[in-house]
């Protein structure tokens, strides 16, 4: 009887584990089945590098959105990565224990704020601020980058901090024993030694930024055109799907799934690169 119970519980867990994996498999298959034929029709190069997105005329070029995703994501990295890495160094090396026990959960809380709230906050505060300070419509790459820069902070901070804390104590002691100051120890020994973890943190943060939809849909302006400055509105791959899925049908709908494939592949590449870097040691 006992043995039967053991076997049964093992199988139940296996079935449940399988269901989560199969959800992934189903979604993947579904997206590819719906999107791939259109990419094949249009041609990979023409689809990704095509300048014209006019579903009503059968023009499916997503290049303006690719540019939109790349610029907003890079902007988010430029804003979020330095702040995030510095914050992780502060938490790992400088913060008194009482302070880090408050800071750490507070930063995790940033990850718990729904993205629509970020978007709403961005629309009400950041958009007018950018408009007043820098001109332009306010709905822009810069605004999106600021919002996403904040949103990737929890990812960048927690993973960088873990990789700094995981360093052998002997590195720090060895550097201090050479008569290096605490700061010299950090930037010349500890950060280089934790480099792979920090790079992984940055890549995962970028992956998060590329995939974000709701927050940026509200602040980017969503114009389908290649931007000329960071104050111009853009549309990203994700917002393209978000905006048009409500009324798309036929080829148009397939083109949105195809956009999903491009995103899917980009994020897969980023994540496997991050995994490769952390495992390389």
């Amino acid at each position: 009887m006992k043995k039967f119970k053991e076997q049964l519980s093992g199988r139940v867990f296996f079935a449940l584990a399988l269901s989560s994996i199969s959800a992934l498999a189903l979604i993947t298959v579904f997206i590819i089945a719906n999107g791939a034929p259109l990419i094949a029709d249009v041609g990979v190069v023409k689809f990704i590098f095509g300048m014209e997105w006019a579903p009503s005329r059968g023009e499916f070029g997503i290049f303006p959105m690719v540019i939109g995703s790349v610029t907003v994501t890079l902007g988010a990295a430029v804003i979020g990565v330095p702040i995030g890495v510095c914050c992780s160094v502060f938490l790992a090396e400088f913060a008194p224990k009482a302070m880090s026990t408050i800071f750490r959960p507070a930063i995790q809380l940033l990850a718990g704020i729904p993205s629509v709230v970020y978007g709403f906050w961005g629309l009400i505060f950041v958009v007018p601020a950018v408009r007043n300070l820098f001109g332009g419509p306010g709905l822009s790459i810069l605004t999106g980058s600021i919002i996403l820069g904040v949103m990737i902070l929890p990812t960048v901070i927690s993973i960088s901090e873990v990789s700094i804390l995981a360093l052998p104590r002997q590195y720090k002691e060895g550097a201090l024993a050479l008569g290096m100051t605490h700061w010299q120890t950090i930037y010349a020994v500890m950060i280089p030694a934790a480099k792979s973890g920090i790079v992984a943190a940055v890549i995962l943060g970028i992956g998060r930024a590329i995939g974000e939809t709701m927050a940026v849909i509200m602040v980017l302006g969503n114009a389908v055109s290649v931007p000329e400055s960071i104050l111009d509105p853009v549309r990203t791959l994700t917002t393209n799907i978000g905006i048009e899925m409500g009324y798309a049908s036929g080829e148009h709908q397939q083109a949105l799934f195809a956009t999903g494939i491009v995103l899917f592949v980009a994020i897969m590449i980023l994540n496997s690169f991050a995994q490769y870097i952390t495992r390389r040691k």
Binding site: Q170, K172, A175, L176, L178, G179, M180, P192, A193
Partner: protein, 265 residues
């Protein structure tokens, strides 16, 4: 090998006077007064947990890294108060280098491992750095083995070579004193022998203090020996201190005799 005899006019390099050390409320070292002589090898010996490493780490204030540590009494390096109010710990550590139990080569090239200290102390010229690297590696007898691989990661060396690289890194910043915290315990006998030979050549320029569990090693290399032990009150105390030969041939204290003859510890 050295003759293990100190000339009577040897200068005092380091001095502790009624040194007491506490980890929070735990009294780890009690009333330690000793003089360490310039350009000699002093061995700190004693059973596990008696505070040998703690005492060693007093001299470069490495214990400062542990929260709640408190030191009372006087520690002098030449005339410089190690625990003085205005003491700059960073410049103290430039004068008192340290080699750890396990080789802690940084994940950098062999060259950078050695150049990092001098660089941070303001030496920027490549020629000068090249000289320091070569000179330091020569002093630890590693130059011949690695001179063609200076760009290779230090982590690719054998543990014995890594430990010699760590010694080279320590002497590259030209300290007065080198602390060695069981620096051979993770190494094979052959590497241990090389490092012991190294100590004999280094002692001509530096004051060396070692912590060791290995009685033969203490007898082989050290001029002076300090025997530490935990007393009834759980406080680490200096039981006996004197020339190594004398201590090993005719220990004054019964506890020293019991320990060095291997009856406990």
């Amino acid at each position: 090998m050295t003759d293990n005899v100190l000339s009577s006019n040897q200068r005092v390099k380091l001095r502790t006077d009624s040194l007491n050390l506490f980890y929070g409320s735990f009294h780890a070292l009690g009333d330690i007064s000793m003089e360490i002589y310039d350009r000699s090898i002093t061995a700190i010996i004693g059973p596990s947990g008696c505070g040998k490493s703690t005492l060693l780490r007093v001299f470069n204030r490495m214990n400062d890294l542990i929260p709640g540590v408190r030191v009372e009494g006087e520690v002098l390096l030449d005339d410089f108060s190690v625990y003085g109010k205005n003491t700059d710990v960073v410049s103290l550590r430039r004068k008192v280098g340290m080699v750890f139990q396990r080789p802690n080569v940084f994940p950098k090239s062999i060259y950078d491992n050695i150049a990092i200290g001098p660089r941070k102390h303001g030496i920027k010229r490549t020629r000068q750095l090249d000289e320091i690297v070569e000179h330091s590696l020569c002093q630890v007898a590693l130059w011949g083995e690695v001179k063609d691989d200076l760009k290779k990661s230090g982590l690719e060396l054998t543990p014995g070579q890594q430990q010699r690289l760590c010694i080279a890194r320590a002497i590259a910043v030209e300290p007065d004193v080198i602390l060695m915290d069981e620096s051979c315990s993770a190494l094979d006998p052959e590497s241990t022998m090389k490092i012991e030979e190294l100590m004999f050549s280094l002692v001509e320029k530096y004051t060396i203090i070692i912590v060791t569990h290995n009685m033969e090693q203490a007898l082989r290399v050290s001029d002076m020996a300090a025997f530490l032990m935990i007393g009834q009150d759980r406080i680490g105390k200096l039981v006996e201190y004197g020339p190594t030969i004398g201590m090993f041939s005719s220990p004054k204290d019964k506890r020293t005799e019991d320990y060095i003859t291997g009856r406990f510890g």
